[in-house]
């Protein structure tokens, strides 16, 4: 039983990372119908930015928030400079552009920082935390807490601020939003900024576990796809719940199904994606899209 609870908590910890990245994917998908394949690599690059700031001697949380600000600005710049010129192109064109971004960020990180794995600090204590007879990693608990705080902030932002409302409106009905005086183009850019910021949180939180290298987010991105698909690509809540479920399932399957172990764990993500698409393509919380043809 202790092992089970420990594995569930560990699963929630990795799941919170998937949730953050899945939320980033869903935000951009909701606003533009585009799946941003570069989301993970943008997160990885932001983590290197954080690493650079830490190495320059900045205190951990200062570097953390500075990185979020840089990621936010970077996301906006990418939307304005790279995505905007192809805004009205067919979806496939934009998808290819995001794959191009993926390759660029990956190579750029390798070129600047090399492909050697780097240790990355955790802001949380090294000693495990004991509750009853069960031992939890402090980083795992901290990681869950940080992700939950970020999610709460973003929910409050979208739910209660005029700007959050304008961004939701712009994502839903761009024509009508323009007629209300909303600058829809800038709302999309802000969406990219926020998505890049969630990605940065995911990257910084997962780096102490996975070690930092340019391919760090590859696997995480696939789990995030599974999370977004499971939750429904049109639902931010779904992305979060999906992320947590995927994290827990991945961990439990890795622990209890012997032949899968750690080697075949990524296959679980693929199985989830295919299973959801076969059984309920709109996901747990998504809207089924009905188009008149």
């Amino acid at each position: 039983m202790e092992i089970f609870i420990q594995q569930v908590v560990a699963g929630l910890a990795t799941g919170s990372i998937y949730a953050a990245l899945a939320l980033a994917l869903v935000m951009i998908y909701e606003a533009t119908d585009v799946v941003n394949f570069a989301q993970g690599e943008m997160a990885m690059f932001a983590t290197y930015v954080c690493w650079t700031l830490l190495n320059a001697g900045m205190p951990y949380w200062a570097a953390f928030f500075a990185t979020l600000a840089i990621a936010f600005a970077g996301g906006i710049v990418i939307e304005r400079v790279v995505i905007r010129p192809v805004e009205n192109a067919p979806i496939l064109t934009i998808v290819i552009v995001t794959i191009g971004l993926l390759v660029i960020f990956n190579s750029l990180a390798g070129w600047i920082y090399s492909y050697v794995q780097k240790p990355f600090p955790s802001p949380f204590p090294k000693e495990p935390i004991r509750i009853g007879g069960i031992v939890f990693g402090a980083h795992a608990l901290g990681q869950i807490a940080v992700t939950l705080v970020v999610l709460l902030c973003i929910w409050l932002f979208f739910r209660f601020t005029p700007l959050g409302l304008a961004m939701r409106a712009a994502a839903q009905n761009p024509v009508s939003s323009r007629l209300a005086g909303i600058r829809v183009g800038w709302m999309l850019a802000l969406g990219w900024g926020l998505a890049a910021m969630f990605g940065a949180v995911a990257g910084i939180m997962v780096a102490p576990v996975l070690f930092l290298d340019p391919n760090m987010m590859g696997g995480v991105q696939i789990y995030a796809f599974a999370a977004a698909t499971l939750g429904g690509f049109t639902s931010p809540l779904g992305a979060v719940v999906g992320g947590l479920i995927v994290g827990v399932v991945e961990n439990l399957v890795g622990t209890y199904v012997k032949f899968i172990g750690t080697e075949l764990k990524l296959t679980v993500a693929l199985a989830i994606i295919i299973g959801v698409l076969l059984v309920k393509p709109s996901g747990l919380f998504g809207r089924a899209v009905v188009r008149r043809v």
Binding site: P162, S176, R178, A180, G181, I182
Partner: protein
């Protein structure tokens, strides 16, 4: 003599390569209700879209003496031209109240928003009852009320209305038109209305333009045009 509220001269518009307006000209005085009549495809909706810069245009549009040339739709709205579009433009996944808040985004001043909420809820009590409901669950008539209410939340100088009667029961349409008359009288908002239902539009409006294949072919006060034989036969059907 002050500048007219809206001055349109030689307005042309295109959808891709297809020209839809061939030099529309008219002026609106402040405070009036004007309707554009015309058959399907005459360019009524396009005229409104051209004013709001939603289509490619050429020609002159001046609002309170200021040229709208080169402005984006958002900027035109911010000058005080609200546009309740064809199809109502409802934000179906937002609540009724959120829809109205979106309508406030382009206001010049954030003062008086709560008063304006009271005012439009007073016009349309059903919207107050349903303010926490998702707008997509409203009936067609309620969504049209919401479209008018959302446009009024801008506190506009000019309200462009595209076929508010489309697909609605006569009773609901009469109610909406009554509110439009009230809003016009109370807040002095000028209204430019595009309508298929000529009888209703003539009742509401004090001035009429008749549009045929992208040109204004007739204009005048509505009580005069109501008695015009060609209008009567073509648009009123008696």
């Amino acid at each position: 003599m002050t500048a007219p509220l809206l001055e349109v001269s030689g307005l042309e518009a295109w959808y891709g390569q297809t020209k839809a307006l061939h030099g529309v000209s008219f002026t609106l005085k402040a405070g009036g209700i004007t309707t554009i009549l015309g058959a399907n495809g005459a360019g009524k909706t396009t005229t409104l879209r051209a004013i709001s810069r939603m289509v490619r245009t050429a020609g002159i549009v001046r609002f309170q003496g200021r040229s709208l040339d080169g402005l984006a739709t958002e900027d035109v709205v911010r000058l005080g031209i609200a546009h309740a579009p064809e199809g109502r433009g409802t934000f179906v996944h937002l609540t009724v109240e959120e829809n109205l808040r979106v309508g406030c985004w382009g206001r010049g001043s954030k003062d008086g928003i709560e008063e304006d909420f009271e005012r439009v809820y007073g016009y349309f009590p059903v919207l107050r009852e349903r303010r926490t409901q998702l707008a997509g669950t409203l009936s067609g008539g309620e969504q049209q009320m919401l479209a008018v209410a959302r446009a009024l939340m801008l506190r506009p100088r000019l309200l462009l209305l595209d076929e508010p009667s489309l697909g609605l029961a006569p009773l609901v349409v009469r109610e909406i038109f009554r509110i439009l008359r009230t809003a016009n009288r109370e807040s002095g908002v000028s209204i430019l209305l595009v309508e298929q239902n000529a009888a209703l539009a003539l009742d509401l409006a004090d001035h009429v333009f008749l549009l045929e294949t992208g040109r204004v072919v007739l204009e005048g006060p509505s009580e005069v045009l109501r008695r015009d034989d060609s209008i009567r036969r073509s648009y009123l059907g008696y």
